[in-house]
């Protein structure tokens, strides 16, 4: 079976006054139909830039400088601007972190949904209204008919995020990108949204790229994980493998630095220092200056993401490290 999403050697560069800075450095991955890929990393690791690059939403001074994005065999980066307009919100949809800034505050929820449905599905006014209300009901918004005429500020944070999800799914996208969709929400509301995600995925067999910094969230929604650091891919593999036996020192440190319920330790393990500024990244492996297992070659050569041979599993697993755990 061919994967729905194929990203090959994606590279996004920002041409700043201080010189070019590569926010995403030759990242490749594939997502099969019905699968969820979790992209995890700390702020500034390039996970959001990766998604914006796929949607071709990177503005100057940034530019996708290399790579391919194939969606069901079509090369999206080769699309004309008008083809791209038909793709965004249609074939590929995106959910953003902060629903209040992503929704237009002076237009009703219904208006914003209709706009999208009429553009992509060519529905009449009445049909698009029905479709919008059906979607609002699907994501569990109570009294969806009234909410159709509400403005975003009438809704609470959790409801706004549900409306965003309804909007994203309204045109039956082939691929959904969710960029930190639960980060701005409370834990109990986050749990509701994650449950919604799971049930929608079962119903609609969606292909999802789910971006978050929270390893707990990743563990509950995704089938496989890509760990990013400083614009590079560190490690990829199935969620269980990555979270239970990480091979890259960064993944391991990230997992250990998180307080775990029911496993109290007197001190948390930390990663010394902080994520270096883009122009201060080491020449070799981006994690070299904070890595406990650093070797001399780490400073001078960039490790490639290479497949690991794991005898016990058939799952593919790769790590970019000269000295994996």
């Amino acid at each position: 079976m061919k994967p729905v999403v194929q990203v090959k050697d994606l590279e996004t560069t920002f041409f700043l006054k201080s010189g070019p800075f590569r926010a995403v450095n030759r990242i490749s991955y594939e997502i099969n139909k019905g699968e969820t890929l979790g992209i995890v990393g700390e702020s500034g690791c390039g996970k959001s830039v990766t998604s914006f690059s796929l949607m071709r939403l990177i503005d100057r001074p940034g530019k996708v400088t290399h790579g391919e994005f194939n969606l069901n065999g079509e090369n999206v980066f080769g699309f004309s601007e008008s083809q791209m307009e038909n793709t965004r919100g249609g074939k590929v949809a995106m959910i953003f972190q902060e629903p209040m800034t992503a929704l237009n505050p002076v237009l009703t929820i219904g208006y914003q949904m209709d706009e999208q449905i009429q553009k992509h599905l060519k529905y009449s006014n009445k049909d698009s209204r029905d479709r919008a209300i059906e979607m609002l009901e699907l994501v569990g918004i109570p009294s969806a008919k009234e909410r159709y005429d509400s403005y975003p500020h009438h809704l609470s944070g959790g409801m706004r995020q549900r409306a965003m999800i309804a909007m994203a799914l309204s045109c039956n996208p082939q691929f959904l990108i969710a960029d930190e969709p639960t980060t701005a929400l409370d834990v109990t509301i986050q749990a509701q949204i994650l449950e919604l995600f799971q049930s929608l995925q079962e119903k609609m067999n969606m292909t999802v790229q789910f971006i978050t910094h929270d390893l707990g969230v990743i563990s509950e929604v995704s089938d496989k994980v890509l760990v990013m650091y400083g614009g590079h891919a560190c490690e990829t593999g199935s969620t269980t493998d990555i979270l239970t036996s990480p091979r890259h020192p960064y993944t391991a440190a990230l997992i250990e630095s998180r307080p775990k319920m029911g496993h109290r330790v007197s001190r948390l393990k930390t990663i010394s220092g902080s994520v270096p500024a883009p122009h201060e990244l080491p020449k070799g492996c981006p994690f070299a200056n904070r890595c406990p297992n650093v070797l001399s070659e780490c400073w001078n050569f960039k490790p490639q993401l290479l497949p690991l041979v794991v005898a016990s599993t058939t799952a593919t697993r790769s790590v970019a490290c000269f000295n994996p755990l």
Binding site: E42, S43, S156, G158, M159, D186, V187, T188, I189, Q190, A191, Q192, L194, E195, Q198, H213, D214, L215, G216, V217, S219, E220, V221, S222, D223, T239, T240, L243, T244, A253, L254, I255, S257, R258, P259, K260, M261, G262, R264, V265, S266, R267, L268, K269, T270, I271, S274, V275
Partner: protein, 332 residues
């Protein structure tokens, strides 16, 4: 010296809502309702709850950043709410605060040296050269370089800024520090560094913390005792081990089961709380949690439950009419 450093009794904080040309009072946001809380010397008391439950308002009221609507606060042997002028200023040295957002809580036009020096100036302590050496000492204590005194906050990362806030908070050797979500704006790896720093400082200076957070896993890691808040009230208080072993309020249980955990793979979520936190302007009658509670009985919508100790453990308090254990047995 008494064992209790701060005792708050029946603290209420209502914010008026004013509308119209004459700014007439049209309602009240009941942010904090009748809270009784005592903090023991040397402990870390956790205050956990979702946004809008009043945990930050309570923290700010305890330090008198907000004047409470009613109630009393005994702090370290003094009637804190009735202190005035010089006496109040002296007492305030002993209680300090660390804020959530390290980008908003530091003055961008002051160097970090000036920021950390400010408490000494306000309280008229130490000579100029003594202050300078003390500031350098404090910066090193929180893991920054003394040579950075002349830099401005924008030159530092979020974690480093939070270290500056901590240096400022401990500068006057306070007895109690109110930490209002000190790590929620930080990345996980940085969060661990700050939590470890807070722990080291506590051991070294015998500090008492009131630790406010929405994150139960962080709370479990740092706190000795935990108070759970919902819509302006405390619904459960117990020692950490007791609370996690035997959560007795339905809200505490729901909160615990909502936390995503690593390594269990994709699983069906259980016991998810339906609905959202109601508005504190017009809270539900009786128990504020009853519209979302799966165990509610008739009394819940009529009588507001008081915080009472459990029959099984005298140090474990909850405000709930329902006995969850018998309830669970009935179901089984």
């Amino acid at each position: 010296m008494s064992d209790i450093i701060l005792e708050a009794t029946a603290i209420k904080k209502h914010f008026p809502i004013r509308k119209g040309f004459f700014m007439r009072e049209t309602g009240q946001v009941k942010a904090v309702e009748e809270i009784n809380l005592s903090i023991r010397r040397g402990e870390t008391l956790g205050l956990v709850g979702e946004s809008g439950c009043g945990k930050s308002t309570l923290g700010r009221t305890l330090i008198r950043l907000y004047e409470p609507t009613s109630g009393s606060i005994q702090f370290d042997g003094a009637d804190f709410l009735n202190l005035k002028g010089e006496a109040l200023r002296k007492k305030r040295r002993d209680i300090q605060m660390i804020f959530q957002d390290p980008y908003a809580s530091l003055d961008t036009r002051m160097t970090i040296g000036q920021i950390v020096e400010q408490p000494f100036k306000i309280h008229g302590l130490l000579e100029k050269n003594e202050r300078e050496s003390r500031v350098k000492q404090l910066l090193e204590l929180v893991g920054l370089k003394a040579s950075h005194v002349n830099r401005y906050p924008h030159e530092f990362s979020g974690g480093q800024r939070q270290r500056i806030s901590i240096a400022r908070a401990i500068s006057l050797n306070p007895k109690l520090i109110i930490c209002d979500e000190p790590v929620s704006a930080l990345d996980v790896s940085i969060q661990a560094q700050i939590l470890n720093l807070l722990k080291d400082l506590q051991d070294r200076f015998k500090l008492t913390y009131l630790f406010i957070s929405h994150d139960l896993s962080v709370i479990e890691h740092v706190c000795d005792r935990i108070a759970v808040m919902y819509l302006g009230r405390i619904v459960e208080v117990a020692s950490r081990d007791e609370l996690f072993k035997n959560p007795s309020h339905p809200y505490t249980r729901a909160l615990m089961s909502s936390i995503p955990n690593i390594g269990q793979g994709k699983k069906k979520m259980q016991k998810i709380l339906k609905g959202e936190i109601p508005s504190p302007i017009n809270p539900p009658s009786g128990c504020a949690f009853h519209p979302r509670c799966t165990y509610k009985i008739k009394e819940c919508s009529e009588i507001n439950p008081q915080l009472k100790s459990l029959t099984t453990s005298a140090a474990h308090f909850k405000a709930c009419h329902v006995n969850l254990d018998t309830h669970l047995k009935e179901i089984l």
